[in-house]
Symmetry: C2
């Protein structure tokens, strides 16, 4: 995916008036020489043909095609971004103290290009990655993100299965609905689900995948989730589909899964589990999977250990951590599980986020009505920033297929995943 692919979204995505009361008159005196010097520090980091940075006294101007203009609306905003851009930029943009016109993707792209140039190759490991959130931590963290309203997510996720996880664009021209369907088939084929089998799902979202598995593969699913809103939604959905005999939604933490299943699956939950809990989760997976069973974990990850962006961690996903493959091995090695297959579909998440961001902008008026302008901006930046994090390989997407150590009924090759007409 090169620069050419980063076409502007084609919708006016950040050109809003904002309420001046956010900033008041504080620090709004005319820029002084020191402000201009600070501005130049910032400008020197970015390619001016793509990103123009101006101060609060600049005349309004329209960005060209494939350009973004960033306006600092007060002196403190400028200082704060220079001190800690990763943490403060998001809050200042949300608050309207930084204004972006033009294509926000171009801006985020530029920022990642700057980071790539300056990053030191050897970085300290974050101690935070080993955090093992307790049940109540997890409850609070998950509520923060997933219980803000099912109606909000329905505005911009795929309309069929409400998948808030990476899609699989088997063909690059797919719609988000097709690509989410392809993702679910891809996972089910890897797991070789057969009618009548039992599946445990850890972190079921709004129930879309559990219902898909029951409907398309005839399996019996028990799906665990600690988001109350999602569980309620899932149960209603299963009722509407007349699938309550096949799908059971359990409001409980994955750590409390009991029983014995042909398959275990977890899509987009590991990011919230905490690296310190992986061994426990691995032991649990080994316990609930039958000796001839198998499992799949689908998770955002990293090429090397790094803490989550400070702003995302504070405002969007408290407690989240994308692990490296080495860190993920805590799930398998020494818990009696054997890794059969790892697939990294990083760029599919960039495409997924592009589709989400597009829908988000198409429905931005509804979001603004539901929440407020600050919320709109925060989510726009989160979606755009995540998209670029996958484009710039700051984030990966790993699907790991596994089976109990010594299981010899594993697939002979992976050809069945790609067989036509299956």
């Amino acid at each position: 995916m090169n620069r050419d692919r980063l076409e502007p979204l084609g919708v006016p995505n950040a050109d809003y008036d904002f309420d001046d009361t956010f900033t008041g008159a504080r620090y709004r005196s005319d820029p002084v020489a020191f402000d201009r010097w600070l501005l130049n520090q910032l400008k020197s980091r970015l390619d001016e043909t793509h990103v123009k940075v101006v101060l609060w006294d600049a005349e309004d101007s329209r960005p060209g095609e494939g350009q973004a203009i960033v306006r600092f609306c007060d002196r403190a905003a400028l200082w704060q971004v220079l001190i800690n851009p990763a943490l403060h930029f998001g809050d200042l943009y949300s608050a309207g103290r930084i204004k972006i016109t033009g294509d926000i993707l171009v801006l985020v792209d530029e920022a990642y290009r700057y980071l790539a140039k300056t990053e030191s190759p050897s970085r300290r490991l974050s101690r935070s990655r080993l955090r093992a959130p307790s049940l109540s931590d997890s409850q609070r963290n998950i509520h923060h993100h997933y219980d803000i309203g099912n109606e909000f997510y329905k505005l911009w996720l795929d309309r069929e299965a409400l998948q808030y996880t990476c899609a699989y664009y088997a063909e690059p021209t797919m719609t988000i609905e097709q690509a989410q369907r392809a993702k679910m088939h891809h996972v089910c084929r890897k797991l070789r689900l057969k009618a009548g089998e039992s599946v445990a799902e850890a972190g079921g979202g709004w129930g879309g995948f559990a219902i898909f598995m029951a409907k398309n593969y005839g399996v019996k699913v028990r799906s665990f989730n600690i988001s109350r809103e999602q569980i309620a939604y899932s149960r209603e959905w299963a009722k509407r589909e007349n699938l309550t005999h096949l799908v059971e939604f359990v409001e409980n933490d994955f750590r409390n899964i009991t029983g014995s299943y042909d398959a275990f699956v977890s899509i987009g939950m590991l990011e919230h589990a905490g690296a310190g809990n992986y061994k426990q989760l691995g032991e649990l997976m080994r316990r609930v999977i039958r000796s001839d069973g198998r499992g799949l974990v689908h998770s955002i990850g990293r090429d090397r250990p790094e803490p989550l962006n400070a702003w995302i961690s504070k405002r969007i996903f408290p407690g989240a951590y994308p692990p490296t493959l080495r860190e993920m091995m805590d799930l398998f090695e020494d818990t009696g599980l054997s890794v059969l297959d790892v697939e990294n579909i990083r760029l599919h998440y960039a495409e997924t986020l592009r589709a989400w961001l597009q829908r988000f902008e198409e429905n931005v008026e509804s979001v603004r009505t539901m929440f407020d302008e600050a919320f709109v901006r925060a989510w726009r930046l989160y979606l755009a920033g995540s998209l670029m994090a996958f484009v710039h390989a700051k984030l990966q997407l790993f699907q790991v297929l596994f089976a109990p150590v010594g299981a010899n009924n594993v697939p002979w090759t992976r050809a069945h995943v790609y067989a036509e007409g299956e």
Copy 2:
């Protein structure tokens, strides 16, 4: 692969007279009560319907179908096996002080079943796995195994490409020649080799894969190997094939690879590199692969860390170590490489070893003439033991595909690996 698949080899594989001078009269007095007690200790570990264990005074008897008879020919042999079976069994069998009649695979299978029952789930990590053999260590270790005569390996490896690494049975009915060809295509498709590209190969064996790549994919290959006999053989072969303009064989350690390539490939070399050298090897791979290039490492591995069997390590493969995936991540994380795809084809190595063992037995007279009976027995046990190590999941076979971090020209899906007619 269940018990049913372990049909006897169909060739008289271990029913030889041995030279009594190996043991002399030492400890050959009639068994006493204590000898019988020791024998019962051993017997209690094995299923007598499959494996019969007898002492030196027992009458000769023929094993039934799917059975093995183990005869201890002297008292010391019995003691030594009870004290340290992993180390001593191989030497005593090679020396003719333990005699096996019937199917050696049944015996090794039984031994692994016993081990599986008694193994403690938490084992100490071996410090030896972190050994980083120096250039001269590697030279000596490789000479020990690979320079014992090309003619010997030609007796039992596939006849087309002399691949002494795991084959890929795209169809389970393939011959070893077809499966080795399929393995080489599988690797080339994963790497998406295109005519005119350049490839660095680390550990090229007898040159079969380098020649295959040049011939079938039109790439330019530089292949590195420290086995003098293999290099000489490879060069002759390339000459016969009129491929010297495309393939260059370099007698040098992988640590000395220079240049810049579209692809890096290493099949069956990592096992000899030493886990302490992985980071250095990873840095080297990153350095020699172009920013839009890719690489593949194919290696025996483990589900959890464990030292290599003591006898194999002493007699067959000094310095060898099969890493876990976590250990392999030293190659990629922090060296700027991103893992795209991991495939575990463990059971394909069991099939490969079955084909090798079959050919070995078909040509056992030639091997005995080249070497001696002790050599024949050591290699038979090594091949049979390795086969069962893969069946019992003590060993894995990982193929890891990777690219420089941030390369966005990576394959969109893996479907091209499985596309017909490619």
